[in-house]
Each structure stands twice: as C-alpha cells, then as structure tokens.
Symmetry: C2
Subunit: 303 residues, 2 copies
Amino acid sequence: MIYDLIIIGLGPAGITAGIYAKRQNLDCLVVGKSFGGQMMNKSVDIENYPGFEKISGFDLMEKMREQLVQKGVQIIEDEVLEVKKKDNFFKVTLSSKEFHSKSIIIATGSSYRCLGVEGENNYLGRGVSYCTTCDGPLFRNKVVAVIGGGEAGFEAARFLSSYASKVYILEKGIEVLASKSNQEIVSSLYPKIEVILEVEMKKIEGEEMVKKIVFKKGEDEIILPVDGVFIQIGYVPASSIFNGLVDLSNRNEILINKETCETSTQGIFAAGDVSDGKVKQIVVACGEGAKAAMSVYKYLNKK
Amino acid sequence: MIYDLIIIGLGPAGITAGIYAKRQNLDCLVVGKSFGGQMMNKSVDIENYPGFEKISGFDLMEKMREQLVQKGVQIIEDEVLEVKKKDNFFKVTLSSKEFHSKSIIIATGSSYRCLGVEGENNYLGRGVSYCTTCDGPLFRNKVVAVIGGGEAGFEAARFLSSYASKVYILEKGIEVLASKSNQEIVSSLYPKIEVILEVEMKKIEGEEMVKKIVFKKGEDEIILPVDGVFIQIGYVPASSIFNGLVDLSNRNEILINKETCETSTQGIFAAGDVSDGKVKQIVVACGEGAKAAMSVYKYLNKK
C-alpha cells in the first residue's frame, strides 16, 4: 500500500496536519517518536494558545492527541530513521517497519539547546526557563540572568526588563554577538540591563527555587544572586535525517515557502519549529500544519 | 495618548494578536464591530481547531473572548470608520471616538458572498453551507449541489464527491470559470460530478432540512432534489476602508508578506481572512495573528 501522505512528528504541527489531512479524506499515516514535542517541556501553563486561558503543555497535548485518535487517523509511535525519494514516491523507514507514500510533511520540531551545567535540569520550571515569552511575566520585580549574548539573548533581556528589576546578560565570549543596533539600544535605553562578558557558567543553585548562579570570570569564581535564569543559546531543529533530502538553512532549519509550506523537494512539505519560520509558537505551528495539509491535498489532486 | 498598537477586528486573528501583544507588554487596543467574525456563522460544530474535538463557533469565540478580557487587554466594540496615516502615527476613527497608535494590525476578516435567493438564510445549517471543509463530511451518500463553477466550486465538488453519492455543479454562465486542468480532471476522474450551465437560481426549499432547489434554465423551471447546497461564489474581504492605505489584491484582499504579515505600508500589518493567504481556516488566522503581533513588537523596538 502507498499512503497519500505520511506526516512525521507528533507535536502541534504534525497533529494539526493529521486532522486536516483526514478532513480532506487523504490516506494518511502520522509517525513520531512520542506525542507532544516541545509542549511537554513548558515549565508553566500555556496562556497564549487561543481557546484556553491557562492549560499545561501536557493537557493541551492530550486534547490534541485525543482529537487525532478520534478522527480515526492511523498513528505509529516509533522513530523515523530514514526517508528516501524513490521515483514518484517516498520510503519512510521506522525502527520497526517501512512505509511508502506519495507525499511527506516533516513536522519534527526542535529542542532548545541546553547549557549543560549542574542545576539546569533540576531547576527547570523553578527558575530556569528556555522561553522568555512563556515565563518572563512570572519575574516581575525579580532579578534574572539571560545566558547568551546573541540576538536572541538581547531580545530576551529587553523583553524581561519590562518585568524584572534587573537583567544580566551573561556571554561566554570576549564580545557579544547581538547586532550593533540591538547593543546600542540596550546601552542607551535599558538601564536595567547589564552585560557581563567572558562568563564560564559553572552551576545554578537554589532551594525550592533558583537563588543564584556560579560562574568563573578569569581566575575569579563569582556568585550572582538571581531569581531566574533564561537560557538563550539557540535551538536544535530535528532535521538531521532530512539533510540531503531537502534544503536546510545555515541553522539547519528546513527552508519552506511560507505560503504553501513546500520544501525544495517536490512532494515534501514542512511545518512548525523544524521549518525556518521566525515565530516559534504553538499556534503558529498549528497554522502551518493546516496549511501544509491543504497544500498536500492540492498537490495530490494536481498529479 | 498614543497606543503602541491598535488591532482592528475581533475574530480569531485579532484576538490572538491581542493576546500576543499583551504578552509582549505593548499598550494595545483591540476594536471591532462585534466579537466572533466568521466563526459565528459556522453551521455545525468546528472539528478541526486543534484542542477541541468538537466545539461550536460561538463557544470557541466565547473562550477566546474571555481569554483576551482576562489578560486585561483594552477592548472597544465599535465600528472603525477610517484609518489614516499621519506622519509617524495612525489615527483610527470609530463611530464614537478617535484613537492614535504607532502601529496597526488589520484583522477584519471576510464574509462569504451570499447568493441572495429565497431559502438561503432559512436553511443555513440545515443543508445550506458556505464551507465545504466544515460541512462536507455530513453529506455521506447524499446528493448535493455546488453553486458556482469557478475554481472554488470545482474544488468543493471534488472534495464533496468523496462523501456524497452525487454532486451537481451549477453555473450561471455559459461556461465554467474553473481552470482547464480542473475541468479535465473532473470530467475524466469524477463520474459523480455533473455540471449544469446557464442556471438561474430561484430558491432553496425543504422541510426540516433542504429537499430541493428550483432554478430556471432557458425557459424551463427545473426542480432538482438535493440534500445539501454548497454556495461557492467567492467571499468579500472586509478591506474597503483600507483601500488606498494599503495595497490590495484583485480580490480586495490585503497583500501581506507571509512571513511577517507586513503590508505595503510601514507600521501596518494584516492577519487572517482579510489577508491574501490562501488557507482560510481558524487556526491559520490565529497563527497569523500571533505572527503579526510578534512583528509589531520587533517593528516598535527597532524604531
């Protein structure tokens, strides 16, 4: 049997694509290692997904999962090892079995890049966060540190400064990588923000919640009291197995047409955080999933 | 006072933009004639908005409305009469008052174009529909008519033919306007679809549900028994007051950059069904609303 469509990924984008594909009456299989994607990592309730005032990532995922199951979409929870184009169809190899399809939607998401220091995992959701937009508002009148002096770190710091009383940007290099304009704006308009260079992070410590971070600067070991630590050192799109099959950006994101979700390879579409869309948000990923499924429907009907 | 942002429209796109704008700590006002947009017209439960297996348009709108109110976003239910660019800011005139802002998101949506025949309003949700994707699956093994022989009508008919036992396409002109490729595919691969030309629709009749349509063809009055009537004669983007302020497509949709939601005018963004995005779906409108708000945040921080 050759499926009309195989969707790879069980996060918001993949699930939405599955709901829409079924609605379009496509023979569709959704595969992925496990349900949830990044939503499962949200340390606080999600407040910006339209329709739910507050909901945990786990609960929202459960609702989406049930909706997909209820629609009768075929789902396999298994890791995809390889996707190959063969003439006019695709071969998708899972660890257990292989399947064939006329089209593919890649919705494998991404994961935040971890710092890898003591206390980072331990205090996740108790002061440590990878998502400024999600968790920033919890730090009103608190002291926070942003780890990473790139564009994202500077933007996070500016965002946080409208809540926090003090924001440190800690950069490991001898200079920050943020744009000059961002640096100038911060130094002239954001008195709450202080940049510290050549920081070698050692650990994050606390009691119930984060209380301080410990780093080396030159020969000195410095203990900085903070209430929150925002780690902004990039993210890792789950695109490695698609390298060579579709074109990637220099950040390893899958390049897509923002209107149709087409990739550089005919018959392959991508949606959600694995794509090179700028806004990494649940509802945006869902919107892209819907668009990708509609594009697949059009693509198959044109053939 | 000059707001950072005024969002025009109280449908899914405008509400989501409001939620995100507040999250970004922008001074934001959301205005619109009334809550809901097209969601209020859904004749059956929505089944393809991720997170809700089945929900009425009214209930989903209520949830989004409450979420916006809960966040403390300022909302005014009033019609926007005019938007003018003045130097570096915008003047938004409501019927009651006027306001100023540094940026604008237009999310005024669109409405389906009505046929304007007897029975059309009366049987809405009881056999008459404007949304194939929403209502098509209800017509399994039934006879349906699609009004309109354009591209949308042909695509609706093809979609419906996977559910219905018979699909008529009724076109008022002497030939259909759908693409040749669409016509060829339908005539060769879709035996269930029958095209009738030069149809002058008269009325839609029934009892509890639609039972038949009445039309004139030449001198004859024809009564065609059908269970469903899908009206596919286009939609009307609510863009007329923005004509001259931003560039519109030949369908009067606001042209946007699909990545950033920027319009042709600096400081004005657009999202949802009023834009020239191809996929008119609630979750896609929400995703665009989120993207537009994030773009506004970036825009204001660059100034």
